[in-house]
């Protein structure tokens, strides 16, 4: 008697496992009639994504070395996560991703990078090269800010006055700044 009960238990467990292992199909087929109705389920997964756009090159020309040169630009950062969160990491073209400019011969000169999580700012949180600034939130509605706010963050690049005073006049210093945005 006990073995029979155990057998039923095993069979039930196997049946349950079979049901669990089977792919759930919601599709229904139509019957033969004056009308016929069939239905299917549809699913799609959208991963967390971000986008940064609206960036402009920074050009400090004929700056006055007695004061810091500052370039602030509003950019679009979009995130599709439930919190619209993102992190940002900046790297320069200097040694070990340093934020530096160079003319190719003279010593590289440093610049600073700041980030603000809202547009129209002239200062923000100072970024360290290669280190992610987390906990940022975007207000952008569309991925390129063509709908909703036209910009959602601020990038501020500056060269301090002492640095400017160390630079050779008439020489062009150049470098690249790369920004990586990741969903959070």
């Amino acid at each position: 008697m006990k073995s029979k009960a155990n057998r039923y238990a095993v069979i039930s467990a196997v049946g349950l496992l079979s049901l669990l292992a089977s792919p759930v199909s919601a599709a229904t087929q139509g019957s033969f009639g004056a009308t016929s109705t069939g239905s299917i389920s549809i699913n799609a997964s959208v991963p967390g994504r971000v986008r940064i756009s609206g960036l402009s090159d920074v050009d400090f020309s004929n700056v006055d070395p007695s004061a810091a040169a500052v370039d602030a630009q509003s950019v679009c950062v979009w995130s599709n996560t439930s919190t619209r969160g993102y992190s940002i990491t900046a790297t320069g073209s200097g040694t070990a991703n340093a934020f530096t400019l160079t003319d190719g011969s003279a010593p590289a000169v440093p610049y600073t990078v700041e980030w603000a999580g809202s547009s129209g700012q002239t200062s923000g949180i100072t970024l360290a090269a290669g280190s992610a600034l987390t906990g940022q939130t975007s207000t952008a509605i569309s991925s390129d800010c063509t709908a909703g706010p036209a910009a959602s963050a601020s990038l501020v690049v500056s060269i301090g006055s002492p640095t400017l005073q160390s630079m050779t006049a008439g020489v062009t210093y150049a470098g690249t700044l790369t920004l990586v945005v990741a969903p959070e």
Binding site: S25, A26, A27, T28, Q29, G30, S31, F32, G33, A34, T35, S36, T37, G38, S39, I40, S41, I42, N43, A44, S45, V46, P47, G48, R49, N80, T81, S82, I141, S142, S143, P183
Partner: protein
């Protein structure tokens, strides 16, 4: 030599012929019927492309026993008022539905929710396509790039129903 009951037989013979014709004439016309089968659930999986349309199509069986094999199709989704929308519980993702009366197609005529698309002709020979062509129509579901570009993160699900009617 004719017997006296010959006129009776003649009358009976005419009556039988008359009844036979009457039976033929009064036989009810075979009702027009349709059937949709072979539909399967559809999964886009984890989407990778967001700048272009993402399409999924399936060949299915639509049978119509009408003289012209004609039918119309209506479709509705699980979104509000039958709209073609998937949901992740918080956000929705719109999709389009296209239909082709030919199997193996990846594009077709756009179908609006709850609006019949008339004038479709089935090439099926059997109500479940067990004989003749294995499928007779194409159902295409399209996630538009413009919608995907703005889609919020998540797993989206929904259902799509198809109503085939005689024509």
């Amino acid at each position: 030599m004719r017997t006296s009951w010959a006129p009776g037989i003649h009358f009976a013979r005419r009556l039988v012929v008359g009844l036979a014709i009457a039976i033929v004439l009064s036989a009810p016309a075979l009702g027009q019927r349709v059937r949709v089968s072979g539909v399967t659930d559809l999964s886009f999986g984890m989407l990778a492309g967001f700048q272009s349309d993402q399409r999924q199509s399936q060949s299915i069986c639509v049978y119509s026993n009408g003289q012209s094999s004609g039918y119309s199709i209506s479709a509705w989704g699980s979104g509000s008022a039958g709209s073609f929308e998937l949901s992740n519980g918080l956000n929705t993702l719109h999709y389009d539905v296209e239909w082709s009366p030919v199997s193996g197609q990846t594009t077709g005529t756009n179908v609006a929710p709850n609006v019949p698309l008339p004038g479709q002709i089935s090439g099926a020979d059997h109500q479940t396509c067990n004989t003749g062509p294995a499928t007779s129509a194409s159902l295409i579901v399209v996630l538009r790039g413009v919608d995907l570009a703005q889609a919020r993160e998540g797993n989206y699900t929904g259902s799509l129903s198809l109503l085939i009617s005689t024509e």
